[in-house]
């Protein structure tokens, strides 16, 4: 994916408008950071970009070369993680990754899946069921879910919430690598994460 164009995006919940006419373009290699108060629409914007939510108005366009990419095809190149993203608690970490690799049609060997678990800091815990994970470990598994298919569009919602210092290092490494293969959108109010921004958007809506 070479670029994303958001055109006149508006998000309403009933009579309440949380975002109106947001227009922005993000190019490959760039990081966009979205900040704003609770309820300002940061998470909703990310859900709109990945297709989990329809905007009330406006359009999201994915561009490869100079061609628009169909939403269904673009979705295959999106990695999304958020605190409200839940994986299967009764399965192990490795089983979760193997399942999501299989439904994406990726024949990823277990060695690679274990390497991914190691990368996100879950080395040696792949055989444990997710229900036994701490909140920080669950969040690390969300990283593995988002990175599993090497997405060219990475959407990170509150990426360091629940993470320790080594988790911040993981985030820095992920963002640095993503700059080489695609683009990143981060929804956060953490000043450390705002430093990643090539494009910074402050949403004015309020709780």
């Amino acid at each position: 994916m070479d670029a994303i164009e958001l055109t006149q995006i508006s998000i309403d919940y009933g009579a309440r408008s949380v975002m109106a006419n947001l227009t922005v373009r993000l190019n490959r290699g760039n990081v966009m950071v979205v900040t704003g108060q609770n309820g300002s629409g940061k998470s909703s914007l990310l859900r709109v970009v990945c297709g989990l939510q329809r905007p009330s108005a406006g359009q999201v366009r994915f561009i490869a070369g100079d061609q628009a990419v169909a939403p269904a095809e673009a979705r295959q190149q999106i990695g999304w993680m958020a605190p409200d993203l839940m994986l299967y608690r009764e399965l192990t970490g490795l089983e979760n990754l193997r399942f999501f690799a299989d439904v994406r049609g990726l024949g990823i060997p277990d060695a690679e899946l274990n390497a991914l678990l190691e990368r996100v800091g879950l080395y040696g815990r792949g055989a444990d069921v997710v229900a036994t994970y701490s909140s920080g470990m669950t969040h690390r598994l969300r990283y593995a879910y988002a990175l599993l298919h090497r997405p060219t569009v990475l959407l990170l919602d509150e990426p360091s919430v629940m993470l320790d210092q080594r988790g911040h290092e993981l985030l820095e490494a992920v963002v640095a690598q993503q700059r080489m293969i695609g683009l990143t959108i981060i929804a956060t109010n953490d000043p450390r994460e705002q430093r990643f921004a090539d494009v910074l958007i402050r949403l004015e809506g309020s709780a």
């Binding site: 990945c50 297709g51 989990l52 329809r54 979705r75 999106i78 999304w80 409200d84 993203l85 839940m86 994986l87 299967y88 608690r89 009764e90 399965l91 089983e95 399942f99 999501f100 299989d102 439904v103 994406r104 049609g105 069921v129 879910y145």
Partner: protein
């Protein structure tokens, strides 16, 4: 998406459902308990029934009523659990809609077949239900189960995000299932009374046609229901 990728994804969804069910046993326990309680309650309440021309029809109706309500208990779970445990978003992003539908349909079919065997055995033992034409009886149960699953799986996906799911599932499913249920009850009664294949073929064909129509319709509609 190629057929092999769709099949691989479908198999992954089916195996995941099976694995989760074996570990939690939520659906299996719920339906097994419901089926046992219903049949026992009916057998105790009715006592031994006198032999009469209507007895096969009574047995067939009881059998399908228990199956219908057990299906209401269990079949919606495949989608409701995804919403309750908030795993639906991860699945929506990663899996092709058709694979989700087919994988969950296959799991529901397996669950209902297991339930049908249990209910039929209990009915034979506790209600002293006599099966005079076993071949048509088995085929009618299988085709009826196919129709029941095909008719309810799409509705399960529709109601999963609603607040009062249980009531909505029954209200929406009931009118869709009525034609199938009437056919299944009458066909099963024929098989119980010893009618041969020749007269049982009409309800069997009707049930197959119903299942195919519901399956094809659901396959077309599922992506809209799942993603909107």
């Amino acid at each position: 998406m190629s057929k092999s990728l769709l099949w691989r994804a479908t198999k992954a969804v089916f195996v995941r459902e099976l694995r989760s069910e074996f570990r939690s046993r939520q659906a299996l326990n719920a339906v097994a308990l419901f089926a046992v309680c219903s049949i026992v309650a009916v057998s105790l309440g009715l006592g031994p029934l006198n032999r009469s021309a209507e007895l096969p029809l009574v047995h067939a109706a009881l059998l399908w009523i228990v199956l219908l309500f057990a299906a209401f208990t269990a079949l919606a779970r495949v989608f409701v659990v995804e919403e309750e445990q908030r795993t639906a978003a991860a699945l929506r992003l990663a899996a092709p809609p058709h694979a989700v539908y087919l994988g969950k349909l296959l799991f529901n079919l397996l669950l209902l077949c297991a339930l049908t065997v249990l209910v039929a055995v209990l009915a034979i033992v506790l209600l002293r239900m006599q099966v005079r034409s076993p071949g048509p009886f088995v085929v009618l149960l299988v085709t009826g189960a196919l129709g029941l699953v095909a008719g309810t799986t799409l509705i399960a996906a529709m109601i999963a995000r609603a607040a009062s799911r249980g009531a909505l599932f029954a209200v929406l499913s009931f009118p869709i299932l009525i034609p199938m249920l009437v056919t299944a009850v009458r066909g099963t009664a024929l098989a119980l009374s010893g009618t041969g294949w020749d007269r049982c073929m009409a309800p069997i064909q009707t049930l197959i046609a119903y299942a195919v129509a519901m399956f094809v319709t659901s396959l077309f509609l599922f992506a809209y229901v799942w993603e909107d």
